[in-house]
Point group: C2
Chain length 524, copies 2
C-alpha cells in the first residue's frame, strides 16, 4: 500500500490475526507494527481476526483471538489482503510430526532449528516449484540427504519448459540432491510417536526423517466467498483493473486476488510480492480518487537455486501451443560478459515467438551468469508487444564487465529470427535424442577445437570431430545421407559450420541449438 | 561482420595495415588472423594499407607497407571499416615522450610497463570521458598520484548531467585521485630530454611524469572523403539505414560511420563496439540480398569506474532542453536487491521525460549496485516509445537476490510520474544548494532515525531532525514560513514526510530527491 496515500484516507484500520504478520513493504521499506501504531490515523488491531463481512451495513465482524470477544468495525472501503496459504495435498500423514510447510520466514527458521537439534540426515521435499527448490538447495550438503519428489515429469513444471528444466536437473544432481520425477506422493507414514518416517510414492517408498510440503499455495478467499463476493475461475478473488471486487466498496490485492495475463488476456493466479506491491498502490490511488489501473501480468518469475539464476516471462512453449499459437522457439547459449573478465558465466536463453508475425510470446533463461538482466529486458519488450526482430536492434549497454559486444540476448534474438525466416535450421538436443533413440542415423559433427573436445567430449557414439577452422579444408570427408548435426560449445560455431556446409551444397544440415552446454543435459 | 554471411560473398579480401589489427568479433567470438587465413574464400592482406579508392573502376589501390609496392584490388562491394583514432588537442608538447593515448590494448600494456619500469609517481589524465575514467581508476593507488584534468565543469560531460556526475566526483576524490574541473590544458612542457614534465592549464601548472591524452576519438575518413564519399555533419561517413554510403557499392560501419539518434532523428557520432557489431551484420545481410536495416541508436553507454556502474541512454536533461523539449526529471535512490541479501547496494536513477506526454526521453544511472540491469530495461523501454507511466507497470523479475519487491526502477518511475502530475513536489540537491547560497532560508527537515543521523549527519547548518515515525506526534513543532525540505536516506521517507505535512495543511513542502546519498555530493 502506498503509505503516502493513507493520508488521503480518513481512518485506516488493519486487522491482523497474529502479532508478527504485519510486515508491509512501502517502496521496499519494511514497516513493523509499531510504526503503524505510531501513526495516529492508522489503528492496528493485532490478534484480531475478521470473521465475516456484512456488506449491506458495511461492517466487518472481528474476533479478538485472546479474549474471544466479537466486535464490528464499519468501513467506507474495505481492502481484502487475506493472502495465500500452503496447498496441502489430500494424502494421509500430512499432519504427522516433522512435516513442514514454508510460508512465513519463521517456518524456515523452525525447519532449520529442527534439523540442527536432531541431527537430521534425510529430508524429503515434495514439489520442485519455486517453493521447493530453495529448501532443497539450502539444505543439500554432504551430511544431509535431500530427496526432491516431483509429481510432474520435470522440475519447475509451472515455470519452465522441459528443455530448460533439464539444464537445472543436471545441476541439482551435481549438488548431491536426488530428484524423483513423475513421482507422485500417495501417503506419508509415521512411526509409533507420530513422527514421519516414510514417503510412499508411485515409484516406491523413501525413508525420511522430515518432509517439506512445497506443492504450491492457494488463495485465502473464505471471507470473500462467504460474503458473496465473486471468486474467479482461478480460485482467487475476481477483481477489475482497479483491484475492485464485485462489490465496489471492497477491493482485493496481493496473494488472494487474481490477475489477467498480458498475452492471453485470461485470468491467472500468479501470486508474487512484486505484484502485491504494485496492487497496493493501485488500490490506495483508486480509493483516493486517482484513476490508476493495474496492468496485466506477464508472470515474470525468477528463482535462484543451485547456483543458477532461473527465470521466465510470458508464455512457455508448451503453454503457447496449448493456447493455439503456432510457435517457433530457439535455445541459445552465450557468455553474460566478456571472456577476459573473471566473473563471466554462461546463460542459456529460450525465446518463444509466433511463427507468422515473429511476435515475442515468452522467454526463459537459465545460467550462472546475469540471466535476470536479460529476462527483465525481455519482460519489458513483451510489455510493448515486441517482435523478436525488434530485439536484434536493442541498444543495450555494452562494456566488457557487463556484456559481450553482441549481447547474448541479441545473439538469441538473431538466432531465433534466422530460424523463423528459414535462414537457419536448428535442432534441439531433445529432438536429437528422440531421433537417435528411435533408431535414426544422424551424422553428428563436433566443430570444437581438439582440446575442448578432450576436456568435455560429446557423449554421443560415432560423433565426428572436425574443428570449424579445419572444416573448409576437410568438408569433403563428410560422406553421408543422414542429417548432419553440427555441435559446438555454445551453438555459434555449429551455426557457422552449418551455414558453410550448406554453402558447399550439403542439403540436410542443422546446428544443435545451445551447443554442448545444453546437449549434456540430454546425453550423459 | 556476420561470418555466416561471408558464405554468400564469393570473395572477401581484408586489408589490414598491421598484423595485430585484425580481431573480429562474430557473436562475441574473437577471431584471429590465422582463422581467416584458413578460410579459403577469405584473403587477409596484413601490412597492407588501402591508400585510394578508384570508384569508377571499383578498385582499391593498396600499398604493402614492407615492400612499399602498390597494387590494385577490384571489388564488387567495398566495406569501409577504417575505425577511429584518438583525438589529440592542438596543444604544444603533445608529441613529447611519455605522452600516451589509449586506443589498442597494447597501448594500455605499454603505459603499465612504463609506469612500472620507471617507478612513476605522477600521472596526469587529460579528459574524464569514457576513455579517461578507466586509466584514472586503474592507476590510482597510494603510491601513484593521478590528476584528472577536465576542460568541462564536470566529469563524463558527454555522458551525464551535472547532478549525476557529482555522485561520481565524490567517489573519485575518495579514491585519492585529484580532479581539476573547468581546467583546459594549454600546453605540455618537457625537460631537456624531451620527456613531459609539466602540464600547463588555465588553473596553473601540474608537475607530472606522464600524460594520458583521453580527449575522445575521431573517425578515420580520409580514404572515404578523398574518394568523394559524403562525410556527414558529425565528421563521420554518412550512411543510410543499410550502412550504404553515398556510393551504393560502398558500405561503411563501425567507428568511421555515423548513426542516427532514436529520439531526435539527427545524425550522431557515438562510436561503440556493440554498434559496430550490429552494423557488421546489417552490411553482410544487405550485400547478401537480405533487407536488414540498422536501427537508430539511443547512445546507451556504460563505464565501470571507481566501483561504480555508470550509464546513460537516450537524451540527458541538458541535451533534451537544448533540443527544445519541456522536460521533467527525477532523481531517485534505492537498493538493487533486498537489504537482507549481503550483496545489496545502492543505485541512483535519473529519469528524463517530456512534461506534456510523459514520454521517456532518457535515463542515467549510477551506483555500486546492479544499475546496468535497470539501464538495459530503460533502453528497451525507450526503443518502444515508452511513457514513464508504462514503467510503473513493468512485470520485472523479483526475488530477494535480484531486486526489492518494488524494483528501484519502478520506484523511480512512480516518483517521476507523481512529480510530473503534480502529486509530489521534489527538489534537487543542486537547487537546495543554490538557494541556500543565494541567502534564502529553507527549513531542512531530516526524517531519518537518530542512529542514522549520527552515523552520517546531513552537513547543512540548522537542519532539524524529526524521524518519520515521530513526525505525526511532533509536526506542530514545525513553525516556519520557509520552504520545508524533507530529507532521508534515499528520498522515500522524505517523500512520505512531505505528503504527511501537506496533509496537515503545510503548503510549501518538497522532498529532497535521491535523499542524503545524493545530497552529500553537494554538501560536504
Amino acid at each position: 500500500m502506498d503509505l503516502s496515500l493513507i493520508e488521503g484516507v480518513a481512518y485506516l484500520c488493519m486487522l491482523v490475526p497474529k502479532l508478527d504478520d504485519l510486515m508491509m513493504t512501502s517502496y521496499g521499506v519494511m514497516r513493523d507494527t509499531e510504526f503503524f501504531r505510531k501513526q495516529k490515523n492508522v489503528t492496528v488491531l493485532t490478534h484480531t481476526e475478521a470473521i465475516k463481512i456484512n456488506r449491506e451495513e458495511k461492517k466487518v465482524i472481528a474476533r479478538n483471538l485472546i479474549s474471544g470477544l466479537e466486535d464490528s468495525i464499519t468501513y467506507d472501503y474495505l481492502v481484502l489482503a487475506t493472502g495465500a496459504k500452503p496447498s496441502i495435498p489430500p494424502i494421509s500423514g500430512a499432519d504427522l510430526n516433522h512435516v513442514f510447510t514454508l510460508h512465513h520466514p519463521h517456518d524456515a527458521q523452525t525447519l532449520k532449528e529442527f534439523i540442527k537439534a536432531n541431527k537430521i540426515k534425510h529430508v524429503t521435499v515434495m514439489g520442485s516449484g519455486l517453493i521447493g527448490m530453495e529448501p532443497a538447495d539450502a539444505l543439500a550438503s554432504p551430511r544431509l540427504k535431500v530427496v526432491l519428489c516431483e509429481a510432474e515429469s520435470q522440475v519447475l513444471p509451472k515455470l519452465l519448459d522441459v528443455d530448460m528444466a533439464k539444464l537445472i536437473e543436471s545441476k541439482i544432481i551435481e549438488s548431491g540432491v536426488d530428484i524423483s520425477l513423475s513421482c507422485r506422493v500417495n501417503a506419508l507414514e509415521g512411526d509409533a510417536e507420530g513422527n514421519v518416517c516414510r514417503v510412499v510414492t508411485e515409484q516406491g517408498t523413501i525413508d525420511t526423517e522430515a518432509v517439506v510440503i512445497a506443492t504450491g499455495v492457494r488463495p485465502v478467499v473464505d471471507l470473500a466467498s462467504n460474503a458473496g463476493i465473486t471468486i474467479g475461475s482461478t480460485g482467487a478473488i475476481q477483481v477489475d483493473e482497479h483491484m475492485m471486487t464485485s462489490d465496489p466498496a471492497i477491493y482485493a490485492g496481493g496473494d488472494c486476488a487474481e490477475q489477467h495475463h498480458l498475452i492471453t488476456g485470461e485470468p491467472v493466479y500468479i501470486p508474487l510480492a512484486s505484484t502485491a506491491n504494485k496492487q497496493g498502490r493501485v488500490i490506495a490511488d483508486h480509493i483516493g480518487g486517482i484513476d490508476t489501473r493495474f496492468a496485466p501480468v506477464e508472470g515474470t518469475s525468477v528463482p535462484q537455486a543451485f547456483d543458477l539464476n532461473i527465470g521466465r516471462t510470458g508464455l512457455g512453449e508448451k503453454e503457447a501451443k496449448e493456447k493455439g499459437y503456432n510457435v517457433v522457439t530457439s535455445v541459445s547459449s552465450g557468455l553474460d560478459s566478456t571472456h577476459y573478465y573473471p566473473m563471466h558465466a554462461n546463460i542459456t536463453t529460450k525465446l518463444i515467438a509466433e511463427q507468422e508475425s515473429g511476435r515475442l510470446l515468452g522467454a526463459q533463461v537459465c545460467g550462472m551468469g546475469e540471466s535476470v538482466k536479460r529476462l527483465d529486458v525481455l519482460a519489458t519488450a513483451l510489455k510493448f508487444g515486441a517482435k523478436v526482430e525488434d530485439l536484434i536492434d536493442l541498444d543495450l549497454a555494452y562494456a566488457p564487465p557487463f556484456a559481450t559486444a553482441i549481447d547474448v540476448l541479441i545473439h538469441a534474438a538473431t538466432t531465433q529470427e534466422n530460424m523463423r525466416l528459414g535462414l537457419a535450421k536448428g535442432i534441439t538436443a531433445e529432438t536429437v535424442q528422440k531421433r537417435l533413440q528411435a533408431g535414426e542415423r544422424l551424422y553428428i559433427l563436433d566443430d570444437r577445437e581438439l582440446e575442448e573436445v578432450e576436456a568435455s567430449p560429446l557423449p554421443i557414439e560415432g560423433t565426428v570431430v572436425i574443428s570449424l577452422g579445419e572444416l573448409r579444408d576437410r568438408w569433403e570427408e563428410i560422406q553421408t545421407d543422414s542429417l548432419i548435426v553440427t555441435v559446438c560449445g555454445l551453438g555459434i560455431r555449429g551455426y557457422e559450420a552449418a551455414c558453410m556446409l550448406k554453402g558447399k551444397g550439403l542439403k540436410e544440415v542443422a546446428f544443435l541449438q545451445g551447443g554442448i552446454s545444453v546437449t549434456k543435459a540430454y546425453f550423459k
